[in-house]
Each structure stands twice: as C-alpha cells, then as structure tokens.
Symmetry: C2
Subunit: 169 residues, 2 copies
C-alpha cells in the first residue's frame, strides 16, 4: 500500500470519528440547558404518527432505557433515564404511489427526558426541541418547557406522553 493511500485512510478515520463524536456538541443547547442527545438517529423505533392537522409525519424513537420499558409495557410511568425522540417532517405524496404520504422537508427533532427529581417542576420530564437541519434550539428562555406542558396536559395521566408504543411481534 502506498503512503498516500495510508494517509487517506488515516484522514478518513479521523474525519469519521470526529464527525461521530463531536457533531452533537456543535449544536447549541436548548435555552433550558438541555443538550441535544447524541446519536439519537441510531435509536430504535417506538412508534410513528401522521398529524393530518398540520400535515406532518413523525417517527418516535427511544434510547435503550425507553425501548426496554416500551417492550415490557412499563410506560406509566416511564422509568428515569428514558429519552423519547420525535423526528418531524412535512408530508408529501409519493410520486409513484400518490396515496402514500411520505416525509418531505425535515421540520425538527424534539425530546422528552425523564428524570423525576431533576425535572420535578415539569412533571418529571425535561423538554427540548431543535429546529431544521441546522438544529437551532427552540425557545427564547429557560421556561420553554411550559409551552410543551400546556400541549401535553391532556395526557397527564399517561405520564405526559402521547405516544403508545406500536404493537410488534
């Protein structure tokens, strides 16, 4: 192997590693101090939804604690350490199958982080959202979660969570 090839492989390795390790750290935290969870795109799927009111599609992913809880039906309350991620896209009709509605432009990624002690004031959950592909933190001050809680109040008795894990084999 030539020295140039070795050097190329070395630089690609460095590039890949730094991208994986530091990409999330380049994103600014939410105004309430919550940092973007790392590698959330690699989490397993819990459910999905199609909001026909605002024409968006959503996939709901969970970290390992969330997945274990979801599969065991242990979701009211969800255990401490749970993180739920909701990835949201505007909808479009599939060109080759127009009655299939599929993701178009990426809207945002939003998170619920369970820590009954740390987030006691907001029902045991920390809330944060990052907008668009450049993941700009949502909200103007540290009370950003109040808006989230208002919307989640109808599911207060479901540990503040709308999502029911999809039934799987």
């Amino acid at each position: 192997m030539k020295l140039t090839q070795l050097l190329t492989i070395f630089l690609m390795t460095i590039g890949f590693t730094s991208q994986t390790l530091f990409a999330a750290e380049l994103v600014k935290p939410s105004p309430n101090g919550i940092s973007l969870p790392k590698n959330y795109k690699d989490w397993k799927v819990i459910s999905m939804s199609h909001r026909i009111d605002n024409k968006t599609l959503r996939t709901i992913l969970g970290n390992d604690i969330a997945i274990t809880a979801a599969r065991a039906g242990n979701t009211n309350p969800w255990p401490n350490g749970t993180i739920l991620a909701k990835l949201v896209w505007k909808q479009k009709a599939e060109k080759q199958w127009p009655s299939a509605i599929a993701p178009d432009k990426f809207v945002h990624a939003e998170f619920m982080i369970k820590n009954s002690k740390k987030f006691k004031a907001t029902g045991g959950w920390g809330y944060a959202r990052w907008l668009g592909l450049d993941q700009k933190p949502y909200g103007s001050d540290k009370n950003v979660a109040q808006e989230c809680m208002t919307c989640h109040t109808p599911v207060k008795d479901n540990d503040w969570v709308f999502t029911t894990p999809a039934i799987m084999p």
Copy 2:
C-alpha cells in the same frame, strides 16, 4: 443476595437470551426459502409512510448496510447485503389528539433483500412477508415474489424501491 434471587436472575437471563436468539428461528421461512431476518425490530429507521388508500401506517427500517447506504445517498442501486424491512399497522386516531393518526393492529412485516446474483430473476431483490403477530409466512408457492414485483414495477428505475430515505440532520 439470597439463593432464590440468584436463581431468578439466572432464569431470567436464560429466558431473555433464548427469546432473543431463537424467536426468529421458530418462525417458518417464506415459501421462496427466505428466512425471517433476525432482530429486525432493532434496526434503524430509514423512513415511514401513511397509505391513505388502505389506511395503514408503515415504518421502514434497514440493516447496517442499508443505513450506511441511505445516509450516504448510495441507494440507486442499493448495495448487495441491503435488507429493507417494512412494518405495517392498521391506523387509528389518537384518543387524546384525534387528528394524529397512529398505529393500531399489527398487519405484517415485509422485507426486500438485495443480492444481485442470488435474486437476479427478480430484479436483484428477494421479497418475503410474514403476517400478523404470529408471523405466518405469506404466499402459497416459491414464486411469491412475482406478486411483489408486479406492484414494484413503477419504481423499477429506482432499483425497485418505493422508499426514499427521510432527510435527517
């Protein structure tokens, strides 16, 4: 720790391991000889869709080869070794947010397996589907993929795949 506690942990470990390792093997293969891919529920998400014609929601997952290809935009053709999984549910309206359409009863899991040599006769893809929570193989004979191909013909120029990977940050 008491002996009974130790025994309980031991039995749970055995149970969990055997469930993980052998559950897929208890499912019968598709009539064309394809076996149910193991641990597909743990794969990462590629996209999702809502088919308003037959009122189903779908999440599309991929094995590691598929995810690497999807994130690199290397999907026409998808590389050999790709497996795409589509999990399908009947739809329902969320009780607490009726304009959100969410998964109800599980319908089936279906797969496309890329091997341009092995599956040359069917466009380089092996097709298989397992119905319901008991994962009964779909189809009555080894030519089951013909029906799949007929449906996928409109996307022949997209390497026979309807799904476009959802754009993510």
